[in-house]
Each structure stands twice: as C-alpha cells, then as structure tokens.
C-alpha cells in the first residue's frame, strides 16, 4: 500500500474530473462570448436598414442578410418536407412492423448514412443530383434550393429516424396490448395509441432534425448555386440560393480579420448559434417535461 500517493490521488482526481465536467459550460460560454465580441461590432459598423436589406454584395458594402436568412429557411423547410414523412415512417416501420432480421440490416444502414461526411453527399449532389434535376425539370441550372433541400433531407433522416425510433420503443408495451385487447388492429394501435404516446419524442426528433439541417454547411454550399437572392416565392425552390452557413464558409477565408465584412460574418455566426441554442433548449425542455409527466402518470 502507498497511502501517501493514494491521498494525493483522492484529492486531485475528483477535482480534475469535476473541472472537466464543467468544461462543457465553459466552452459554450466561450463560443458565445467570442461570437458576441467579433459579431456585435457589425451592428455599429453597418446601418441596421442596410443589414436587414435585400442585397448581399460585400464588395460594394451591401451587407443585407435577409436573402441569406430566407435562403436558409427555404432549404430547411424543403428538407423537412422530405425528411419528416420518410424519417418518421421509417422509424414507425422499424419499431412497429419490421421483423427482427430486417431491423438488423436497416439500423446499421441508417447509422451508416449518419456517418457519411456531408462533403461526400455534396459531391454526389454536384455530379448526379443537379444534372438530373436540370434535365428532368428543364431548369437553367440544377444547382438550386431544391437540390440543397433534397440532400439536406437525406442528411436529416438518420437523426430523425434514430430519435423517433427511441421514442416509439420507449412507449410501454402494455399500451399496445391494451389497444389490441380492445379489438384495435395493429395499424389502428400505431396511429391512435403508440404514435400519440411517443409524440414528445417525435417532436424532439423534428426539432433536432431542423437544428441539424439549418446548420449544415458543406453539402448545401456545394449544391445550392450560391446566389444570394431573396427567396420568398414558391418558385424560389427552383432557383439558386445562398444559406447563412454557406456564406460564412465561402467568404471567411478571403476576409481581412477585423474588417466590416469579417464582423458581419461573425454576426451571421451569432444568429446561427442563437438559432441552434433555441432549438436545442426547446427540444430538451420537451423531453424534460414529458419525462416529468410520465413519472406522474406511472407513480
């Protein structure tokens, strides 16, 4: 025995471990602080009506971020329209219908898609998806919001499937048995019992899917054509757009640090950070509240 060394370890290690635990808070705070420090000066350097104008053309000091925001929204909404039905249907299929052997194949495949680097999807988007869209829809270019939405839908699917499936699995089996005993078919049970019971988890899946989509950078930068035009009409989906993330990624490399452009790009980063913060806090509070409710019901 080496009692001295032991004391030393028992003293320091818990403190070290504790500090590591708190480091997560430190990092979020640091990131927030730096985005504020580098992004807020933009508000002083650029007139507010310029910042919220419709023109993004930094070379001539037009820093209107509205087209970038609408671009991100358009692509995200499009992606959700693709990913939600497919993702949730796949989750229901995997959790309620698929036989065990099929599940053993499907699950790793969906995980595989989750691990696929987005730059690979962007690459395929350029080479396959956008030429296909151009010829089949007769567009001047296939690099459009639609291409971005389709790719992002694919990127969001694994997130949505895995969280929604967990939520469905967490519904007690007795709920289903109860419904069957009352004479409901398996189909009716899925729609009227299991899905409603899992609704908060499914909602979390939706929100985290949105978070994942709005923050996606590479794939979207590669296939959306990078044209910062205001995207408010429905046809905009067939035109090139530019998202907030793509703007940062495309322009940050060429910007002098400390310039107005630099500060505006950090300001966009700040907006993205706040969006992801809101989405994640909302998602986790849904989980927290439903957990509490479940505890009340079960106790």
């Amino acid at each position: 025995m080496e009692p001295k060394r032991l004391n030393w370890q028992e003293f320091f290690i818990p403190r070290l471990v504790k500090a590591s635990g708190y480091s997560a808070i430190l990092f979020v705070a640091l990131i927030f602080f730096f985005l504020l420090r580098e992004g807020l000066p933009a508000l002083g350097e650029v007139e507010l009506d310029v910042l919220f104008s419709q023109r993004w053309y930094p070379i001539e000091a037009h820093y209107g971020i509205l087209p970038l925001i609408t671009g991100s929204l358009l692509v995200t909404v499009g992606a959700m329209l693709v990913a939600l039905p497919f993702g949730i249907a796949t989750a229901v299929f995997m959790s309620e219908i698929a036989p065990r052997w099929l599940l053993e194949i499907l699950k790793p495949l969906v995980e595989l898609l989750g691990g696929l680097p987005s730059v690979v999807l962007g690459f395929l988007g350029i080479l396959l998806l956008s030429p296909f869209l151009r010829t089949s829809l007769d567009l001047p270019t296939g690099l459009t919001a639609l291409a971005g939405a389709l790719l992002l839908g694919g990127i969001a699917v694994p997130t949505i499937v895995s969280i929604a499936e967990d939520a469905l699995d967490a519904v007690p089996y007795s709920y289903r048995e109860g419904a069957w005993a009352m004479g409901a078919t398996r189909w009716q049970t899925i729609w009227r019992v299991t899905l409603p019971a899992a609704r908060s988890g499914v909602l979390t899946a939706v929100m985290l899917g949105i978070g994942r989509t709005i923050g996606e950078t590479m794939a979207v930068m590669m296939v959306t054509g990078n044209a910062p035009v205001l995207a408010l009409k429905l046809e905009s989906i067939f035109h090139p757009v530019r998202t907030m993330t793509a703007t940062i990624a495309a322009e940050m490399g060429e910007v002098a640090s400390g310039s107005v452009h630099y500060h505006v790009l950090f300001f966009i980063g700040l907006v993205l950070f706040l969006i992801s913060l809101a989405v994640n806090i909302a998602a986790s509070s849904v989980v927290f509240r439903s957990k509490k409710r479940a505890e009340r019901v079960l106790s």
């Binding site: 990092f27 219908i97 950078t217």
Partner: protein, 287 residues
C-alpha cells in the same frame, strides 16, 4: 356510428403496412445505392500511386497522400484533446455529480455543444485558436476546434457506458475497502471501456469527415509535401474532395470518386471498428 366491417379494417391495415414498408425501403435503398455507386466508380482510381504519391499537375494527377496523412493527423490530434477531457467529464457526470441545477446546466451545455453548426465551430476556432492564441492556420488549431466539436459525442456515449455498469460492482468494491477513485479506475472504467471506446471512435469518425470547422483553422488548398510540425497547415481528405469537386476546373472524375472512396473507407472503417468492439463486448459481458 357505422361500424367498419373487419374486412375493411384488415384491408386498411394491409395497405398501410405496405405503404410504410415501401417508404422505409425508399428511404434505405438510396443509402445502399450511394455506397455501392461510390465503391464501383472509385475503385478503378485506387492504385498504390494514388495512395502514396503527392498530387501533381494542379491535383489532376498523382496521388492524395498528403490528404490521407493530414486527415490521420487531424483525427489523432482531436483524440489527444477530446478523449481524456470527454471521459473525465463523463466520469464526473456518472460517478460524482449530484442531480442539481448545476448538473442540469452542464447537461444543457453538452446538448447545445452537440447542436452548434460546424461552421460556427470554424468561426470560433479562427477567432480563438488561429488569431487570439496565434497558432495560425495549423493542425493544432484545427485539432483543438474539432476536439470541442467532438466532446459532446464522447461525453454522452461514455456516460451511458459508465451508467450501464451495475451499481453492485461499485458497492462491492467500496465494501472491500476501495476508495472512490480506486473503484472507478479498477472496476467501473474497465467494465465500461468497450462502450467508451465505441463512443470515442464514433465521435472521431465525425471529426475525420468534417470540413467546415477546418476550413479556416487548418486546411490547406494544395500542399505538395507532408506537414512537418503541428503548427503546419495540412491537406485533409474532406476538404480535398470539396476542392477538387468545386474549385479545380477540368478535374478528372475518376480522381474525385477515388478521393470520395478513400474518405468513405477511412470513416466507415472507424464505424465498423466501433460496431465490432460493441458486439464483441456484448458477447463477453458478464452482466
């Protein structure tokens, strides 16, 4: 209320199930198709030269060695920072932390770290590591940036693995006179190791495939030599794929597919490794 006959209920169920099956297949089959397609198109590009030579002719010929080595270094660098910190944080959350509001804030912070867009990590890395700490565009700065991004994945997976170790193991160790730290180091951590390892590899897999965080912190457009120190910039597979598919005109498609294939093999290799560790540990587990 008119009651539907059992036959039509059956029919609806059969139609519904078929529809769901169809949608699930439509979702999953493209995934398989993407992988098969890249393997098929990329395999002809693979050669000893492609894997071990420097790029030539404005990256239109030669190999992608600097990108492969660069991604390896970045992954390694990320592991050096994020693995100890992540596991320590998980040990704190699972073994030491009480359930109070502070712990809840830590958990919310971890969830938020996981949700921050990767390009925002890039901005942060640029502001803090590259400019403020004057590390320059370097492997070190990029690794640090990727480490923070990877941290939440490692923490969550490790915490789950630690919590899965039965409470009785700890009780027995303490009752035999073990201290808390001895219990953690000799009993809990070894038991949770496969789970932790799986989480670590999955976290690093994500780091290896990321482009946006390294764009302005460490990635070099074209660097026909291997990085000599952690303070050098480096080529990296994902960024290289981005460059040759968007920035270089008249790029041979074969080299693009080859690069995509190497990146996928790198990333999927890690994924498969994680799966193997997980399933072997499950088979051997005594509890």
């Amino acid at each position: 209320m008119k009651r539907a006959s059992p036959l039509s209920r059956d029919l609806i169920q059969r139609l519904g199930f078929s529809l769901l099956t169809l949608v699930a297949l439509v979702t999953v089959i493209p995934i398989l198709a993407v992988f098969i397609f890249i393997i098929k198109e990329g395999a002809p590009a693979l050669s000893w030269e492609f894997l071990t030579a420097m790029p030539r002719d404005g990256m239109r010929a030669g190999g992608i060695l600097p990108a492969i080595i660069g991604t390896f270094y970045l992954t390694l660098g990320t592991a050096i920072f994020s693995v100890p910190l992540g596991i320590a944080a998980a040990v704190y959350l699972s073994e030491y932390a009480r359930e109070n509001w502070l712990t809840r804030i830590i958990r919310i912070a971890i969830i938020n770290l996981a949700g921050i867009p990767s390009v925002v990590y890039g901005l942060f890395g640029l502001g803090v590591f590259v400019l403020l700490l004057k590390l320059g565009t370097s492997i070190l700065a990029a690794s640090l940036t990727l480490s923070i991004m990877t941290l939440p994945v490692i923490i969550s997976a490790s915490e789950e693995a630690l919590r899965a170790v039965p409470q009785a193991f700890r009780t027995v160790s303490i009752s035999l006179g073990g201290t808390r730290w001895q219990t953690i180091r000799r009993i809990v951590l070894p038991q949770a190791l496969p789970g932790i390892l799986t989480g670590v590899i999955l976290g690093l897999e994500r780091a290896a495939g990321e482009t946006a965080p390294i764009l302005f912190t460490g990635a070099a457009f074209f660097l026909p030599r291997l990085p000599g120190s952690p303070l050098d910039a480096t080529m990296a597979l994902p960024y290289h794929l981005f460059v040759i598919s968007t920035q270089v005109p008249e790029m041979p498609v074969q080299i693009q597919y080859g690069t995509a294939l190497v990146l996928i093999v790198f990333v999927l290799g890690m994924n498969i490794l994680a799966t193997v560790i997980r399933s072997r540990a499950r088979a051997k587990r005594q509890w």
